[in-house]
């Protein structure tokens, strides 16, 4: 099964870094969509079939937290596995997101951290090599 991914971050550089980390991880990747803020993220979710959302928190127009809140209000979006990748240092905010069932990866991250977190969320079967 190839995984369609939505990467939401206002930094184009960071979106590229995340995508390259995913490509290095051995994940079966289908389509990759980019969005620069939560609003664009929701628009992409409306237009495309997405299996995994990776999002930053602090973004202009609409934050990642607001986007996740709107996803959780919709039955067709709330079950999409979501990983937050952010510099966020507030335990209060991180715990609030984790209570919503989200995984959190702290920036700066290593490709291994991304791989391990995706594996935890989606399972081994979406990777080229077992245990990759």
């Amino acid at each position: 099964m190839a995984v369609n991914i939505l990467i939401v971050d206002d930094s184009k550089v960071m979106r590229s870094m995340i995508q390259k980390s995913m490509q290095m991880s051995g994940l079966h990747i289908g389509e990759v969509h980019h969005a620069a803020n939560g609003q664009e993220g929701l628009e992409a979710l409306n237009r495309h079939w997405i299996d995994l959302v990776i999002t930053d928190i602090n973004m202009p127009v609409m934050t990642g937290e607001e986007m996740i809140g709107q996803m959780h209000e919709r039955t067709d979006l709330r079950a999409i596995p979501t990983i937050v990748i952010s510099t966020e240092g507030s335990l209060t905010r991180i715990e609030r997101l984790q209570r919503m069932g989200l995984r959190f990866v702290h920036k700066p991250f290593s490709p291994e951290t991304i791989r391990d977190t995706v594996r935890d969320v989606l399972g081994n079967e979406v990777f080229h090599e077992p245990g990759a």
Binding site: S11, N58, P60, S86, T87, G89, S90, K107
Partner: protein, 188 residues
């Protein structure tokens, strides 16, 4: 004296440069000369329990390597000035986010504004002469890269009460929440 904060600035900047851009940097014992003509500076403002900003200056010669390492070039690929500035902005953004718990504790919630390139002479105004790291509202750290000197400066509005070593006490005693009004952009 904000010695602890200065050390934290250096530690976070060095760690982020290494992990995000595979660039190694070493703490400078004394403030090196900074050349505004040969440096690139980016500023990230933040709002929350404490308001302020982080300013990062890197030698211009380090930016091609920074972009190359962060973006991962294909063979023969190079990155233009805008891409190099984007890489510098993201570096500053990560440094700022990792510094904020030091200012107000790890329970405090901040909003980061979009990073902005700072140009002109204002980019490298040196801290107060003879007292470069002891201001109650400013701390500056220096690192040495292969391409030259790097400076990271944290400024913040002095809060009403302070914790040990002159740092703002933990918790939200000074709320300055809001959008990044002086930048005309939403919270980052």
């Amino acid at each position: 004296m904000n010695q602890a904060l200065r050390h934290k600035l250096i530690e976070v900047t060095g760690d982020t440069l290494e992990k995000l851009a595979f660039i190694f940097a070493f703490p400078a014992e004394t403030p090196p000369a900074m050349d505004s003509q040969r440096s690139e500076t980016v500023r990230v403002n933040f709002t929350g329990p404490v308001c302020g900003g982080v300013e990062l200056s890197l030698p211009a010669g380090a930016l091609p390597e920074l972009a190359l390492n962060m973006l991962g070039a294909e063979e023969g690929e190079s990155f233009d000035t805008e891409q190099q500035h984007d890489a510098l902005k993201e570096l500053a953004n990560v440094i700022c986010g990792n510094l904020l718990p030091t200012l107000a504790g790890d329970a405090a919630e901040f909003s980061l504004c979009p990073p902005l390139m700072v140009s002109g002479d204002s980019a490298l105004i040196e801290p107060k002469e003879g007292n470069p790291t002891e201001s109650t509202s400013e701390a500056t750290g220096y690192l040495m890269l292969e391409a030259g000197a790097c400076r990271v400066r944290l400024t913040w509005d002095p809060p009403a009460s302070r914790g040990p070593e002159g740092l703002p006490a933990g918790g939200g005693h000074l709320e300055c929440r809001g959008k990044c009004h002086d930048q005309g952009a939403g919270g980052r």
